[in-house]
Amino acid sequence: MNEPIDNIIARYRGQPGPLLLVLHAIQDELGYIPAEAVPAVAEGLNLSRAEVHGVVTFYHYFRQSPPGKHIVQLCRAESCQAMRGEQLAEHVQQRLEIGFHQTSADGRFSLEPVYCLGNCACSPAMMVDGHLYGRVSPVRFDELLAEWQQDP
């Protein structure tokens, strides 16, 4: 029994096509979709485990392990590439000492690639913990990093 997950299933099970709603709510609540959620969701929505697992793994947004305290989503798409986004990506990986799809050993940062944040007039762009940043230079990144590092 997992109370938050059961509550979420109960909240959405009456909706048409509820699986993505449920998975979003679980990730909003827990930060990721834990393995034990899969059978619970499958049973609650009358789906097979394979169907639920298939959906969790199909969508890039759903995580299967807990993220770091700060989630850095860096845009890797063309518009950002046209504005030295690849150099920024190198810099960010170096500073955070992790690669894409990784979480730092101290659990402070996760780095995720995204393909477009819709901020293409202000490339390169990134989103950190839901806050959008535009025209991010390596210097600007370092300033922001210093702020997050002060946050215990």
Partner: protein, 514 residues
């Protein structure tokens, strides 16, 4: 007398510090004992000027930008609240050339009104289209949309009215109106700006669509990367319900229309309409084989309208001002206006809505002022990651569906990403295949396997391994993907690759260090 000051609440403006500027203006005004009312609008789409601050004066709205918190003491000292002279003073907002020469129909209110205010929407011609539609029969509404010449702005450019007619003609116990707000193409942000800056116009457009085909339920399928738009839409939907514009009895007509936002989860393929429907139903976003068309058998197996945000948001003005008013803009078979998004390496990137027919060169140089880096522009990619690369020699091409198609390019959702002469086109071609491999839904082989093989073949070409054979193989692979893929992802990923090969072949042949 308090002065009204507008500071944008658009995600891009916020990404450049608009929130901090708004707060600092309020604090400084308080400290000086000046009364200001700060209103939060969408963005005017002039992003090199964001954070843009507008003050309302007797002579209309005056703009200052780009404003930082550090500029504020100087701006207050210059009495910017009364349009005082300052280095950042841009004059009356509407007179800024970038804005002045546009033809804003769909974006008429974006950046002007407060998106969170239904009253402001109504005061700027909001819901006039719906009121008009309520006096018409479904067939009449569909006819007006057909006669306007509106074609799907998501990328496929299918005539909107004909799609609606198919749904109207289908008989079913339930029909749906769905809005594809999975704006995943790099270089595009018009859907986002519209949803954040004028969410009611989308709600109104969807309500009109529902009346036109007899649907009672609508869904906006919004990409999860757009949290600001999500909040703006939900706030507007709640207000629309409270005021009787949505719900069991739309404006006392006895017609029901319910509307809900559903979030995607980071899958580019879900911008493909059948994949979007699968996702809305709570499944993996694997594309469906067509036929049946979604208009016949769509969401939950019922007849369904699937339209892009801009298509639906263009409907209210068509209903309000008439099909002919809208059709009179544009050229040939491309009628009306297109919100072009200028992105990438450009000095003045932003949103330009104008009638079809404007040339690429005008957009890239007159509007955007050339590259941001100061280096020559080498190419632009139009229409997202599956769009062709267009070389400088073709910049005189007009922006309309047919003219672009004639040069082997496509307009897509109207995003233009510019690159300067430092771009390596072999790498961009490789990226196109890599992106396709990453985002393939996996249902068909040409896309799923072809894209991965494409990356490998381009790698071999770039490293000089059996170059001629691999170039021939790449051409063959592109042809297989174009002919054999189920949907546009695999079917169009070869477009950027082939255009890069055609116009920038030297980039594939140059000697690289391992």
């Amino acid at each position: 007398m308090s002065t009204v000051v507008y500071v944008s609440n658009d995600a891009a403006a916020l990404s450049l510090g608009a929130e901090e500027v708004a707060r600092a203006i309020a604090a400084q005004a308080r400290a000086q004992g000046v009364e200001v009312v700060i209103k939060r609008n969408g963005s005017r789409g002039m992003f090199w000027l964001e954070p843009l601050v507008e003050v309302v004066t007797e002579g209309g709205r005056h703009a200052y930008g780009p404003v930082t918190v550090g500029n504020l003491p100087g701006l207050f000292a210059a009495d910017f609240l009364h349009a005082g002279a300052h280095d950042l003073h841009l004059g009356p907002t509407e007179e800024i050339p970038y804005l002045k020469h546009q033809q804003r129909l769909t974006f008429a209110r974006v950046g002007v009104i407060e998106p969170a205010s239904l009253d402001d929407y109504l005061a700027h011609d909001g819901y006039r289209g719906l009121r008009r539609a309520l006096t018409m029969s479904p067939a009449e509404i569909v006819r007006v949309v057909t006669e306007s010449g509106l074609r799907g702005r998501g990328g496929a450019a299918f005539p909107t009215g004909i799609k609606w007619q198919t749904v109207l003609d289908a008989s079913a116990s339930e029909k749906y109106v769905t809005c594809n707000a999975d704006e995943g193409d790099s270089g595009t942000f018009s859907d986002r700006m519209l949803m954040e800056g004028d969410p009611f116009v989308l709600i109104e457009g969807m309500t009109i669509a529902a009346l036109a085909v007899g649907a009672t339920q609508g869904y906006i399928y919004l990409r999860v990367e757009y949290p600001h738009a999500h909040r703006a839409l939900n706030a507007a939907i709640a207000l629309a319900y409270a005021a009787g514009y949505l719900g069991a009895d739309v404006l006392g007509s006895g017609k029901r229309f319910d509307l809900e936002v559903r979030l995607g989860a980071g899958a580019y393929i879900c911008g493909e309409e059948t994949s979007m429907l699968e996702s809305l139903e709570g499944r993996r976003g694997e594309v469906r084989v067509r036929p049946p068309l979604p208009a016949v058998k769509g969401l939950f197996g019922k007849p369904t309208i699937v339209n892009n945000v801009i298509s639906l948001a263009s409907v209210p003005i068509i209903l309000d001002k008439g099909a002919i008013y809208y059709r009179d803009f544009g050229t040939g078979k491309s009628r009306g206006t297109l919100p072009v998004q200028l992105a990438g390496n450009l000095k003045r990137a932003g949103l330009v809505e104008c009638a079809f027919g404007v040339s690429l060169r005008e957009l890239l140089y007159d509007y955007a002022g050339g590259s941001a880096s100061g280096r020559p522009l080498r190419t632009v990619q139009i229409g997202g990651p599956l769009g062709a690369y267009v070389p400088e020699s073709q910049f005189d091409t007009a922006l309309d569906y047919e003219a672009l198609s004639n040069i082997g390019a496509l307009l897509g959702h109207g995003g233009i990403v510019a690159f300067d002469d430092t771009v390596d086109m072999a790498r961009m071609a490789r990226y196109a295949m890599e992106f396709c491999a990453n985002e393939s839904c996996g249902k068909c082989t040409p896309c799923r396997i072809g894209s991965t093989r494409g990356v490998e073949v381009i790698d071999r070409i770039m490293h000089g391994m059996d170059r001629d054979q691999n170039l021939a193989l790449l051409e063959d692979l592109c042809e297989t993907m174009v002919q054999g893929s189920l949907c546009g992802l695999g079917g169009m990923a070869p477009f950027p690759v082939r255009s890069a090969l055609k116009y920038f072949r030297d980039d594939f042949l140059k000697v690289r260090r391992p």
